[in-house]
Symmetry: none
Subunit: 188 residues, 4 copies
């Protein structure tokens, strides 16, 4: 990817996290990225497109991070545990402002082909996990999307609240919460 495009995306990400959506101007982005305002329009159609692409950019990053250190020969529970910790680390280390996710979710939707592909790619390891779990009768027989909401969403939510300072989550509490999430999808 062009150096400038990358810098613009990173500037946008930073400013979005700092000032929120309605406090983000193209001139700010240009200044932060060290390019001229007009230059942004060489890489992005308009402001919406910039935000769309940033969304995908972050999603791509998250896709990689989420599956880090997760291999197919690991036991299911360990894979799940690792993924949850990956989510937690991403959020708390701030290297991916998942915190902003909320903002993206409320953007006017773009249901492009690449969008779908990217999201599939994000969940391929997750789908695999759930499929295997259901196949061996370990997990409840629910759609992967629902299993995801039951198990991974709480981790995201916890991380978000922790980072936003709503309440603090200790390491022990985190471990317990991950275990509880596991209980949610487990066949009892």
């Amino acid at each position: 990817m062009s150096d400038k495009k990358e810098r613009i995306l990173q500037a946008t990400e930073k400013l979005l996290a700092e000032y929120g959506f309605h406090g983000l101007s193209m001139q700010m982005v240009a200044k932060e990225a060290g390019v001229a305002a007009g230059t942004i329009y060489r890489y992005f159609e308009d402001k919406d497109d910039l935000l769309y692409q940033l969304h995908d950019h972050i999603l791509g990053y998250v896709a990689i991070k989420l599956s880090q250190n997760v291999s197919d020969d690991m036991p299911l529970k360990q894979r799940f545990h690792t993924m949850c910790l990956n989510i937690w680390e991403m959020a708390t280390r701030g290297d991916a402002p998942l915190i902003n996710r909320g903002q993206f979710d409320n953007l006017p939707r773009r249901d492009s082909h690449e969008q779908r592909l990217l999201e599939k790619q994000l969940f391929v390891k997750v789908d695999q996990l759930f499929d295997e779990g259901k196949a061996c009768g370990l997990f409840k027989n629910l759609d992967n999307e629902i299993l995801s909401v039951l198990s991974l969403e709480p981790s995201c939510c916890l991380a978000r609240k922790h980072v936003n300072g709503v309440f603090k989550v200790s390491d022990e509490a985190l471990e317990a919460a991950i275990d509880a999430s596991w209980d949610a999808i487990l066949q009892h």
Copy 2:
């Protein structure tokens, strides 16, 4: 509450759900509410105040709806089940655009006294449920906030995705998901 103020709040709620936070102008609100632009400023200090007050307004509504048909002499599981259905109904019937919640979370926070009171009021029945469950050894021994994230958040998230059309949740799936959430907080 003054008729006009109520109408302004409802117009804001509707437009926020429809156009999102950026895309909401005071003139739009005025038009939708059937009042003059200046009139808004008789009831709200500025745009932020309008959004703050809307937040509280919705929160108050949610507080009431969430605890509807929940009485202290019901078994714990039934109470939990009812609350989850209350969330689901609120979201799907659209009479409270819980969907918007995400937007409020990203507003510059106001930590007023009333704010805290309102949020406590919202969770009083929930706190009670979790406290009783932990007391009789039925629930995991975790902070109420974490139990809430583990059990109620998935219901919210599911409803949101259902309403937003990300995927459809059948009645059976909903029931199964509620049971799964129950599993998450249960001591096994």
Copy 3:
């Protein structure tokens, strides 16, 4: 004059001195005067009219103050001296915000009959002074308006700068300045 009208005028005068012309709103005036906004329009046609009438009101006050302690049997120099001190006192005591005069001078002019009358009334003692001075060959043979600019205007200007803090004028300097103004109109 009606109690309310008087209160409105005084409120306007005070606020005008404090906030300047473009910082004066009818609601402010109403609040300061302790009346409802609509009440102002019972006594004044519109905002301009309020300012016009305030102008006249102040002029009338100045007319009285300027000629205070000035009687026709006093020597010319003493009369002049007294008037200059009257100007100085009015300005420095702040009981008539002559300081604001500058603002009035730049209002869209109204050349009404009463306006002319009032201004004549203001200068009747001054005219008399100049007329007598010229008649006995003591003063330069110039139009009264010019004599006024040469002799009284410096006093006003001095007082204004003193009050505004541009520079401070000691009692001795004031006396010397009055004497110098006298020199300006004297036949040498």
Copy 4:
């Protein structure tokens, strides 16, 4: 100076003279200057800044005009006479709306360093004149600021009233008034 900035300043000057301070909108200025409204904000921080800078701009112009054709080897009286005529010409020719001065005096003050410098620069020739006159015992021993109010202020005031049409000043009257002002500062 940028062409556009110059045009904006001149438009402001013109409109200020025509409509007064309240009655001056940024859109009017933009239209008169032949630029877009937003363009003004490239050169001026806000409306106040525009007015501040206009103040300085005019002051700079006045500084130059006031001292025109005044050289140090001219007799004191001739220098004074020339300055008074410079003031008169500036005002009556309308190339510098001294008339507006009154409005600036009522603006919220900015006591910047450049401001002070500019005003000193404006009066350097005047100070010199007064200093010399006092040194050789020709002038009264008063502060330069007071001498200025006594001698130059009447010229300004006269010009202002002449231009505003309060009364007309003939050439002879002007000469006589200048002589009278000279008398005011002269040691008798």
